[in-house]
Structure formats: structure tokens, C-alpha cells
């Protein structure tokens, strides 16, 4: 069959979801919204500190029941400056580029936090750089990880 004769159906889907943040997720997101604090939790067996806080430490399979406050400063572990366009499933729109996607090890924490850096020149970024959280204004924090607007370089 000729290419011109092949039929395609183009459909845009709007499919709302409602996700539970869970007990520990809610504790963390409330502290972010109300106090601009970043909380993690600590495994009593291996002493590893996790962010986001969670109901179980995977390697030990015990509850990390001690909630700890983490610093809003940390170290850049890995990053990429994203230059190509794609549809963001969060919005259904193209996500604006360029932006910098990063893994940040907060001081006092063993796992990383996925977030954004407000610098998009790869020449001005390097693993090991010190970064600090920039919070949204009181009116704009609603209890989600994006209540941290981004991280900025502090050296």
C-alpha cells in the first residue's frame, strides 16, 4: 500500500491521577511547605540517612524510624544539561530547555536528591561543587518537592 494511504490516529490524552505521598513523604513535604526544612530518616541498623524519608531501608529491610533534619546545602554528585525537547507527562506540554538535571548529596545524608541547578553552562559545572537550596516564597509552597525552586552554586 502507498505510504499516503496508511491511516494514523492522533490522540492527545488527558488522564488525571491522584498519588499518595505516604506517611513519611507527607512528613517531609509538610516540613518543606511550612518550615522550609528538608527531612530524611535514618536506618537504625546501617545508620544510612535517606532522602526522601521512607518506610523501609532496602538493604537492611528494617524501618528507618528516626526522622532527621538535613542541611539545605550539599554537594553536586552528577548532572546533565538537557538540550532536547520532549513532552513532560506532568503537564502535557514541552518542557522548556535548556535546564540542568542534577543529583545532590545533602550534607548529613547518604542518598542523593534529584533536583535542578540554575546554571546551564557545562563549563561552569563540575561534580563536587557546593550547592544550596533556593525555596519558593511562602505563598508558593504547596507541599511538593518543587517547593524547592532549584539549587544554586555557592562557590
Amino acid at each position: 500500500m502507498d505510504k499516503d494511504e496508511l491511516i494514523h490516529l492522533h490522540v492527545d490524552v488527558d488522564l488525571p491521577y491522584r498519588w499518595a505521598a505516604g506517611r513519611y513523604g507527607s512528613i517531609m513535604l509538610k516540613a518543606l511547605r511550612d518550615e522550609k526544612k528538608i527531612l530524611g530518616n535514618c536506618c537504625p541498623q546501617c545508620n544510612k540517612v535517606y532522602v526522601p524519608p521512607r518506610v523501609v531501608c532496602g538493604p537492611c529491610f528494617v524501618a528507618p524510624d528516626e526522622v532527621v533534619e538535613l542541611s539545605d546545602t550539599g554537594t553536586l554528585a552528577g548532572y546533565s544539561v538537557v538540550n532536547y525537547p520532549f513532552i513532560d507527562p506532568e503537564t502535557g506540554q514541552k518542557r522548556p530547555v535548556p535546564y540542568t538535571y542534577a543529583y545532590i548529596q545533602l550534607d548529613g545524608c547518604d542518598s542523593y536528591l534529584s533536583h535542578l541547578i540554575d546554571e546551564t553552562d557545562p563549563a561552569r559545572l563540575s561534580p563536587g561543587m557546593r550547592v544550596k537550596a533556593v525555596f519558593r516564597s511562602d505563598a508558593d509552597r504547596v507541599g511538593r518537592l518543587q517547593d524547592i525552586l532549584h539549587f544554586k552554586i555557592i562557590e
Binding site: 532522602v51 532536547y84 513532560d88 518542557r95 543529583y103 542523593y112 557545562p122 563536587g128
Partner: protein
Amino acid sequence: MSQRVGIIGFGQTYHRSRRDDVTGIELINEAVRSALEDAELTIKDIDAVVIGNMDHFEAVNYVDTWSVDGSGAWMKPLIKLTTGGTTGSTLGIAGYHHAASGLFDVVLVIGWEKNSESDTTGAIITCSDPIFDRFSFSGALPGLAVEASAYIKRYGITEEDAARVAVRDRTHGANNPYAQLQTPVTVEEVMKSPMLSWPIKLLDICPRSDGAAAVIFAGERKARQMCPQPAWVHSTAVRHSHAYFCDVNYEELHTLEGAVRELYDHVGIKEPLKELDVVELYQPYSFAGLKWIEAMGLCKPGESPRLIWDGATDMGGELPFNPSGGVICTNCIGATGLLRIGEAALQVMGRAAGRQVPDVNLALATGFGGAYWSDLMLLGRRPW
């Protein structure tokens, strides 16, 4: 009741960026007919079917039932599996388990994808945690680029080192009539290609493909009856390690390290570079062809560029990687891991035609998922 298992047939489609001429069901059927023809079997010989893809790409979440005509699973035992990037290797391992259990003798395993039907990056992002990962997660490229950024800084690896890996796979891909990309490229061309997600450029990364693969596993008695030289399954290994993307250990790929250690110990491999004959590595981007071969124990951390530039992993080298051109030449994601297994089987069976490595006794196929988990299947010429 358990039995040894061999691969007795492999079929695949001619992979393309778009297959506008077929539906998913028709694409699946092409691979199934090709595998049955390869094994000289009919659908009546098949006792059970295992099928999978990353179903959020096509948004058909009922693939087992939906594709039953194309797959040939009508009124047969059928199961669907989806594990993200590792879907194809999971399928292969599950097919092996089905036959090895002795509950089924001949098992048809199918992996497929029509990546052209949706926005690949948007669809991949839906794999991530909606509360803590999703707003920043940016799909496969940046997810891999963060690993590369930490690795190249730590060991002084250059972007040219990675480009040489892409050159190898693109050169090999020219020998594979099924590959989507069959044009060789140079280091200069890789370096000049557009920067998509620093430090990954267009020619460092796999394409998006429409395609399907089908592999037939059989228990020992049937395998010997049905096939003059099966590719015998020696061992498999699987490792998962974390919940959130931000939990990944970007310094080492410890899922692959753990999986190869189990597999090498199981079959008694001490020097993998010498003892393995060919590797089909699930290598979605060029930098992985450096860091991950260190995780496989082929050299010390940071020393992989020497092996790559010396041609040790080229066709004719000490341990050829990706004779098929690998993932950098073809990436129909739900089929990708199964293509590694099927291509490794062809090498062991001596049926890889223009991409055959001479005298293959042991062939390793790997699988990788975007959240840094690892699967392995080792195939050999004699039953293990």
C-alpha cells in the same frame, strides 16, 4: 523435573525508526513467523508463550490478550512481563525458567516495541516516582548523562574515548542487515554531532526503533531433537538495587558487578576477557561501553579506554562486543534485551552470517534498565 535448556530458534524484524505499515500485532507476528521458520517449527510445537514490551510507549496495557493472534498464543499458556529497559532480558530469563522447570518443553519468547507511537522521553518519565523523581527526571539521556558526568571527572575520561565506542558499534552495525543504523561513523562525526544532554551527543546515544524479536527455548530432549546446535543456557543473574533514581550509586554499577560475580563464580570464569568469546552488551550510550566493561571485570576502573582504542572489543579483537551493532544501532526497547540474547545465540550456533565471530564457545548477553539494574544470560556451545 528440572531440565537443561537450549535456544533453538531466533527471529527478528528489519528494525526501522518508523514502521507505519504495521500495527504492533502485525509487527509481533513478523518476528514470530521468522523465529518459527528459523527453528523449522510450527505454532503447534509451542507449549507456552512469554511476551513483553514497555506498555506505556503504545498505551496498550493488555498486550498479552491484545496480541494473541499475532503472537500465536491463542488458547496457550501466556504471560506478559514488563520491567522497563530490562524487559527483553527479563523475557529471556523467564522463558528459560519456564523450560528449565520442566513444566513446558518449548517456549516462545517475544519482545517488541513501536517507539514511534508516542513521545519516548515523556513515556519513559512515567516510570519514575510521581512524588519525588518525576518533576526533575528527564528520561533516559539525562539519567545516563549524570552517570557519565561523575565517571569522566573521576578518571579523566575524554568524550573522544566514548566516541570511539560509538564508532565500534556503528562499524559493526554495517554488518547487520536487521539493524536500524547501518552506516559507519567516525570519531570526528560523533564529536561534531549535536549535544543533546551534556556530555551525551546525538551519535553517542541509541536511536528509537520500531521492531520485534522472538526466541524459542527448549528443554534438553526437545532441543536435541529439534536443533543440530542449540545455544545452551549456562547461567543467568539479575540484580536490582534501589527505589528512587536519587538512590543510584553513580560511582559503580554495582548491580552489574554483583550479577557478573554470581555468574562468573557459577561457571568458574576467572579471566572474563580471555574466557568469554563474544559479548552482546545492553549499552544504550557510548560512555557505558567504558565504565560498564570495568564493572564486568575486563580491566581496572578507569583503564577501559586503552582496551577500546587498542581494538580489543572490535571484531577480530580479543573479546568482540556487539557484532550486531548493539543498542546504539537498534533500540526497540521491549525487544532490545531479547535481541542481545538472540544475537548471542546466533553466535554460539554459528549462524550469525556476516557478523559471525569465529569459534564462539561462550557468549554473554546483558540487559540494563534505566534505574541501573542489570540482567545477564550466558550461552554456550555445550550443555552446562
